[in-house]
Symmetry: C2
Subunit: 200 residues, 2 copies
């Protein structure tokens, strides 16, 4: 009979927080209509649940200047849908970063990143916490794509061709190859496409 | 006991042939790179099978002038993949229509439609046959979207952001609401999104 000496080795794996770009586009790739319209986005109970689940995954939100000014401290009206109120109640409590070279003071006191975006992002990712939502707008998304800072893309494609508006992807400097990780269609008619970096 | 007089009524339902737009785009909605590149499209055995299945459904192809001149009578080189040879062998035998206001003579003698597109399409759809493939290019697709002639959209979204190129949807005059009918992801990383007219 042999004697087994068992030793238990504890391995700690540090998974870095991901930067997730998550938003809705039309089938022709617009995030807003020509006059800023977002009325074409499907908002159902379905969407509310999906958004709630997404908020469980994150605790930090990244905004461009304009997006923050419009949505960063937004309080929905009394008449808003319950899921919308819930959404802003929850995002209101999260850590917020605004990327702006020109402006340093914002309502609600978000952290302002004026330069050295890559280093700032690395620092944020090394802090403990949940994943990080790259909210937008289009200019900040362009910067993040071109600096290869996006770990995951989640694009909810709405069942409409808008024809014109603000495109999600503009001024992209070179091809970005991606790896499909999921494609989930919702009862309300949109499809969420998820991609990781191809190298991941 | 009652006497039942049964009469059998034969109902013939005529399902009109559908116009199907079927093509591949990048995640940012381009059908070609800035210099006409299509090297980013995923072509695997998988793709070959899907294409073969699609060809079972159609017997007629609609081209714009340029697309026909490049692809309408294309014969792949000896070194081409078997599925590619098979593809052009099969499409070579199908009915072909070229939409061109200026040119009337084409290699392979396709039917040329010079004007009155809506009436021509209605006439084609009323002929018996399988479904009809709207092949492209972008100009013809724009015309068909704006005239509301597309019955089904099948867009294979490839897992890449190209950054620039020729967009699938350009010069669309008004919003087109669609109804998601399927979203099928392939092992090779693309997702085929299928839509019908919202009114269908």
């Amino acid at each position: 009979m042999t004697n087994h000496n068992l030793s238990i080795v504890q391995i700690e794996i540090i998974v870095m927080r991901k930067i997730i770009l998550s938003l809705a586009t039309s089938l022709d790739g617009y995030i807003e209509g020509p006059n800023g319209e977002v009325d074409w986005m499907v908002f159902t109970e379905d969407t509310g649940k999906a958004l709630g689940k997404f908020l469980d995954e994150i605790d930090t939100i990244l905004y461009g200047r304009v997006s923050y000014e419009v949505w960063g401290s937004y309080i929905p009206p009394e008449t808003a849908a319950p899921f919308e109120k819930e959404f802003y109640l929850r995002t209101g409590k999260m850590s917020k970063y605004v990327f702006s070279a020109s402006k340093t003071n914002f309502l609600g006191n978000p952290v302002v990143v004026q330069s050295e975006i890559q280093q700032s992002i690395l620092a944020i990712k090394q802090q403990p916490g949940k994943d990080i939502w790259l909210y937008g707008g289009a200019g900040l998304i362009t910067t993040f794509v071109n600096l290869d800072l996006i770990d995951e893309y989640r694009i909810a494609v709405m069942p409409i061709i808008l024809g014109s508006g603000k495109p999600l992807f503009a001024d992209i400097q070179k091809r970005v190859k991606l790896k499909l990780s999921a494609a989930n269609s919702s009862d309300s008619g949109f499809v969420e496409l998820r991609y990781l970096r191809q190298s991941d």
